[in-house]
Amino acid sequence: MSDLSPDDLSSDASALIDAARGGFEPPAEAKSRLRRGLATAVGVATGAVTSGAAATSAAATAATGSAATATGLVAGGSATASVVTAAGTTATVATTSTVVGTGIGATLTAKVVVGLAVAASVAFGTVVVTNNLDGPAASVPSASAQPSVAPSAAPLAMVPKPVAEAVSVPTVIPPASVALPVAPEPPPLVRPTAPPSIVPTASLTVATVAATSAPAVRSDLAREAEMLRAALAAPPAQALALLDDHARQFPRGTLAEERDAQRVVTLCQLGRRSDAAASYTRFLSAFPASIHRARLDRTCAVTP
């Protein structure tokens, strides 16, 4: 029965397998990171009504916004740059809703959505913005359906407030506070130029923003997104300076990953290949499981 012997791996191979086994374990933080993401995804699976509806209408609004912008272009009213900006603004509204709805895992989800929105609105135009947002936005869960979400996201008071205020509420709100202390002088971080139809959707979510556990993320995220969007829209040399600004202000920002990814791309655009490669190496050590890898692997940082 030596035919069926299960023990016929060479000692070399066995030793290699033994040495390798531990390396297949998930990274230390993967379990909790995915659990947060799962709260988002599973919330949908269990049928989140309120925030699901909010997300859907946010997505719909984003679609409308994009369509409207495209129409503007056809009408000959605006230059390409303004179309991009408008699409970006619309995308930000949808993003805000997502942050709100998730409560938990908000950082990750929001980051991805913002990343997509920012990248898409600049790189691929309005149609892609709509398509990309449809997915993530639709996967907003009912926070209350997830026990792990509990302390922060349970109260769902609906206080109608304009988007800009929602985003710029100061960072000192305690997690559980639902009553929305409006900032004394809220600098509008998202220009309230969005079509009026967006406001109700976004405002539905305002109170929950106040109730989420990381208020700092919210206002900073809007500023980060704004800066990154500017960098994406700028010519490479200027973009690099803007990315540096972002790095100074938000060294560990929510969008640090997107920023550093964009730096690689920008350095390539400037023809600084070795800098790009070095930048990419640093990027990989900081964000080994980044969703931007596939894209960056096609830049000059890797391929000649």
Binding site: D8, A41, V42
Partner: protein
Amino acid sequence: MSRVVNCASETERTPASGVAERRDGEGSVARAAVEVPDFDAVYDAYFSFVWRVTRHLGVEPSELDDVVQEIFVVVHRKLPAFEGRSSVRTWLYAVTRKVVADHRRAASTRARRTAVDVPETMAAAGRPDEQLMQAQATALVARILGGMDIERREIFALVELEQLSVPEVAEVLGVNVNTAYTRLRAARQDFEAALRREKTKEERRCP
């Protein structure tokens, strides 16, 4: 046609409480027979397993997060229907295979790199040189696995890396035990051959 109508009207005539009682009765019997595991408990106990076998099945490190998350979304959805006919682990593996296969189909339309990336795990908490050695060993094993036929890779990974017994793997894969042994033997030969090739390459590089 008329039967359907009759059935429907009968149901309507049945007292609501009676229906509810009957359902409750059946439900509790089913619940007593099969302890449906709690999702959080399953997640906690099997996250690492699912992560590892997803890697073994050849999912790119950059896509692991997405695929593993998708697996647990499916697990969350299907767990209430878990019938306890197999172990939780076996059941989880079946879900994992299915999701990975779907993922692979979707991914095959995209450009695919065949080389497996250097592992990114920071799980090893040894000294740096130990970590490096482990990382290199893992990268090498992953690369060899990546070059193997999918069926052989699967059984090899389950037996050699996950250290499942061959009968258990046979059950997981839905093949008989002899087939499993035959496949495992072929997989081992593939692995050894690939390892020899890697070594030759290495020697040529640093004589």
